[in-house]
């Protein structure tokens, strides 16, 4: 074996780190302990070739990482899987399905970032990032078989744990205050449109001078602004603003950046690079209630008060 002992030590250290941050998941702990044992035995040169094809594959993954000097903290999955597939095709005893699972495992163990390990259960959408550039449809063989577990009771029961709760239907006539509040909001909205028009004019590039594109961007921003308003005050996760598909998430993100540039919203991200992006409206929601918007009011006074 060409690989040096230090290189294996990198892999072991990396695995140990991953193990240390997943203290709430016993299954993953056990799994990683098994990988650590294999890597340690390889490091010492005491690994006995196993009858277990899975264990042999794990060993091959580590060997590949070490031989190709992949950085265990930052593995290029596409490059890695290409090389790994080339390697397993040569050895006839490897089942391709298992090989596929191994690539997945390699990603799980080596590419896994701490944030991701902790938040995995809550943030399935982050998985999309991992498969960037690859056709996710071809990855079906990696998906776990569907485990019904406790939900089976739901499937065969007549009595559902949820039911629509009965509340009052509250309607009231429109008051003057509502009309004035609506005017303030409409004014803000049209100000955004006007500011954007100015912004677009100022930064217009020759190849960007496309009226329909400009208008659609304006509409996009107005649309996203409307979505934001439906949430009321307080921080809003960007993912709650997405309606469907990648294209919409890009639209939302671009619109958010414009709105931030115009000073309408604050944007921040929890735990980069995979954490949720949040935004909060800076403009006071209800001009009639300024106590919590006093600070904003000062800086925005000229915008709020101007009525041409």
């Amino acid at each position: 074996m060409m690989a040096s002992q230090t290189d294996f030590e990198n892999v072991v250290n990396h695995l140990m780190f991953q193990k240390s941050i997943i203290d709430d998941d016993e299954d993953l702990q056990t799994k990683i302990s098994r990988y650590v044992r294999i890597a340690e035995e390889m490091q010492r040169g005491t690994l006995v070739p196993s009858d277990d094809p899975f264990e042999r594959c794990v060993a091959q993954v580590f060997e590949l990482v070490v031989q190709q000097q992949f950085n265990p903290w930052d593995i290029n999955l596409i490059e890695f899987s290409k090389r790994y597939m080339a390697k397993v095709r040569k050895s006839s005893d490897v089942n391709l399905i298992i090989a596929g699972k191994i690539v997945y495992m390699a990603w799980e163990i080596l590419r896994l970032q701490s944030d991701f390990a902790v938040n995995r259960a809550d943030r399935p959408e982050t998985c999309e990032l991992v498969f960037e550039g690859m056709d996710p449809a071809g990855f079906d063989l990696f998906s776990e078989p569907f485990d019904l577990s406790g939900g089976e009771a739901l499937l065969y029961s007549e009595e559902m744990p949820i039911g629509e709760r009965v509340r009052r239907r509250s309607e009231r006539p429109v008051t003057l205050i509502d009309l004035l509040d609506a005017f303030e909001e409409a004014k803000k909205e049209s100000d955004i449109k006007k500011e954007l028009a100015r912004f677009m004019k100022k930064y217009r590039r020759p190849d960007f001078d496309d009226k329909s594109h400009k208008e659609s961007l304006e509409d996009d921003i107005a649309d996203v602004w409307e979505r934001i308003q439906r949430f009321g005050s307080g921080p809003i996760p960007a993912s709650d603003l997405y309606l469907a598909g990648r294209e919409d998430s890009v639209t939302v993100l671009v619109a958010m950046l414009f709105l931030a540039k115009m000073g309408k919203v604050h944007i921040w991200q929890e735990r980069p690079p995979f954490g949720e992006i949040f935004l909060e409206v800076k403009v006071p929601w209800d001009i009639a209630h300024l106590e919590d918007a006093a600070a904003v009011e000062e800086t925005q006074a000229e915008k709020v008060a101007v009525v041409k």
Partner: protein, 172 residues
Amino acid sequence: MKSERLVEAALFSAAGPVTVTELREASGLDVRTIRSALKNLTEEYNGSDRAIEIAKMGPRYAMQVKKEYSTPASRLAELSVPKDVLKTASLIAYYQPILQSKLSELLGSKVYGHVRTLDELGLIRCRPKKNSVQLTTTKKFIETFGIDARSRSEVKAWIEGELSRKNGRSKS
């Protein structure tokens, strides 16, 4: 399950004032029991310091907020004209007469639907002009919002006045 509580649940959830017959259909109780339950509930609610009362309007009963609490409470209820339609209405009132095309520049293409709704409610008037439609407020607009104005220009002036009063107040 006590009959008072069944009637209480039914009154609470009804979309409007209900008759004893409707309460009977909802609760499955007989009319006499319902009448007695209504009497007990009225004593329980109206005799206490609670913010909610049982009111009788002719043959109908309703659970409602006591008058002294109705103003603060109503802020959280849903408007009978949707808020985004109201936005369009307020801009029409302020800028009138305004072309529909101009309005859509200000607020986007959603105004076309809003204008139709407002026209149907009789709150605005649409008149063809310059390949577009000119919009103004109606007498019903003035009545609906209780604006102290006799003409379109007075509506406009009124809104301006209210806004500057409000902004003036907020700065102090």
